[in-house]
């Protein structure tokens, strides 16, 4: 049995997938979701074999949903945008379906899904999904310890701090923890707005109030809210180049 979760924000689109799937005796729908939040929850809850995933949805798009999954089902994107469909393979989606859906193509894809289901590795692909997000990153998705999902637009970031193998996203006084190396996110952010000023800090340059000499060869960046961040010598070079 292929246990399937359908994700699409439009009811008629979900209905069509449901109709196609009901014709397939090997498939069972375990959840239907109308947005990305529900999708993340449903995958955690049901651990499905197959995720039929729309890309353009409110709050979380399909790529962001993948980034937040702990366990990875087989993913097939369902979209009207063929430019997104091409990116599907980069995040190791098995295949994609273009709207309006063709039943013949749907059946072909389901055959592929069944062949792949036997030897599919369910460990998370979220790392890959993260690396392959569109650049520069416009927003960062974070799942808290309680499972609550937060979407942080990069314009709201003050700075990012490395904390062991995770990062802390600082936004107006609060810090959100995300499991991701600082070096990875540093390369995904807009290089004209975010600078790595230190081994452990990436700063939003719009938040910098001034740079002060602290001791010989060591400087501190003082942010608008008074936060003081260390600036290494190479970090200072990068800042100077940008400003």
């Amino acid at each position: 049995m292929i246990r399937t979760v359908i994700v699409d924000d439009e009811l008629p689109a979900r209905e069509l997938l449901r109709e196609f799937l009901s014709a397939d005796e090997d498939c069972e729908i375990v959840a239907e979701c109308a947005n990305g939040f529900e999708a993340v929850k449903a995958v955690a809850q049901h651990d499905p074999d197959l995720l039929l995933l729309d890309i353009q949805m409110p709050k979380l798009d399909g790529f962001e949903v993948l980034e937040l999954l702990d366990r990875s089902p087989i993913v097939v994107f369902v979209t009207a945008h063929d430019e997104h469909a091409l990116r599907a393979f980069e995040v190791h989606a098995l295949d994609y379906l273009l709207k309006p859906l063709s039943q013949e193509r749907f059946q072909q894809v389901m055959e592929r899904v069944k062949r792949a289901a036997g030897h599919h590795d369910r460990t998370s692909v979220s790392g890959l999904a993260t690396t392959l997000r569109a650049k520069p990153l416009q927003r960062i998705v974070v799942r808290g310890e309680d499972g609550a999902i937060q979407v942080v637009p990069v314009s709201r970031l003050d700075y990012i701090e490395a904390a062991d193998d995770a990062i802390l996203l600082a936004t107006s006084g609060t810090k959100l923890r995300k499991q991701q190396p600082l070096s990875e996110i540093a390369t995904q952010l807009d290089p004209d707005r975010f600078v790595r000023i230190h081994r452990a800090y990436v700063v939003n340059i719009e938040r910098i109030e001034k740079i002060e000499l602290y001791a010989k060869d060591s400087r501190v960046a003082i942010l608008r809210d008074g936060t003081r961040l260390p600036v290494s010598r190479s970090g200072y070079q990068r800042l100077k180049e940008l400003l």
Partner: protein, 347 residues
Amino acid sequence: MATTRTALSRAALALYAVTAVTAAAAASSAFFLWARGASAGLAVAAALPPSLLLGIIALASRFLSNALPLRSASRSSIAIGHAGSAAAASGLWVLTWKSWVPALNQQFATHLAPDYSLLFGLGVVLYLAAVAVHYLVLEIEALREAEDEVLRYRVLAREAELRAFKAQVDPHFLFNSLNAVASMCGSRPLEAREMAQRLADFFRLILRLGALERITLAEEIDLVQRYLAIEQVRFGERLTTHISVDEAAARCMVPPLLLQPLVENAVRHGVASMVEGGTIDITATLEDHMLRIVIDNPADPDRADARGEGIGIENARGRLSAVSEGRAMLQAAEAEGQFRVVIELPR
């Protein structure tokens, strides 16, 4: 290119003006002297230097004419300004005569002294003639600029039309709608048939209205309503619409497909970005000969990719400015999760 040409022609014009005033002043004053018995050579030698000075002063009167434009300055200030400067210029020209002539020839100065009051009158007349020429040149330049402006608006209008034509309808709207039709075919064939019909009607209307120069706001609103009815099928309860158009506003003429792309934005980047959906509110009123159209919709401030909407709004602004020759206004603003576009178009 155009500016260098204007600057060049201005320099040439200045040279002509100095030469013309100088020549006129020199010829007429030399004639006076000659008529009183001076030799022709002496008369010309005496007349040339003061005449050159008058020519240069007359050229400088351009700045005064610029400062006192015919269209906006009051008549009395123009009259007083130029009369005063004419008297001053002519006074200077007579003074130059008085100091130059004795230096040239003492005997000539005592026996054949020029008639200074006549020279003063001549100075005033020539100076005022120069002022008149300056005003004429200024008027011609203003006229040429106005023609350029009209031409610029026509080019803008053309470009905006082309862009609007390309961006009329997002093709993904068609793909998604066809997917909805496909979905209904199985369980609700009658609705599927109706949806197919609505799609066909909508695209037919786009083609028909798009070919016209101007349409009534009522026609544009009809198009928008057809569009929203199709989106309603896809979005279901997530999309609600509220449209209120004054009777007088409905009769106003607008460029075709002005609102449609903006409403499409309101759905695609607005309501579609909200998990719960929301209401698109369109109002149109006519007050004091000003047509005012407001489109309100909720939008997630954290939505990804907000670039597409910017293009749509720029296009609409370009077309509006083109059809109204710059008198219309389009403002887009976002605050507290609400996106609002305001259009003001003078009738």
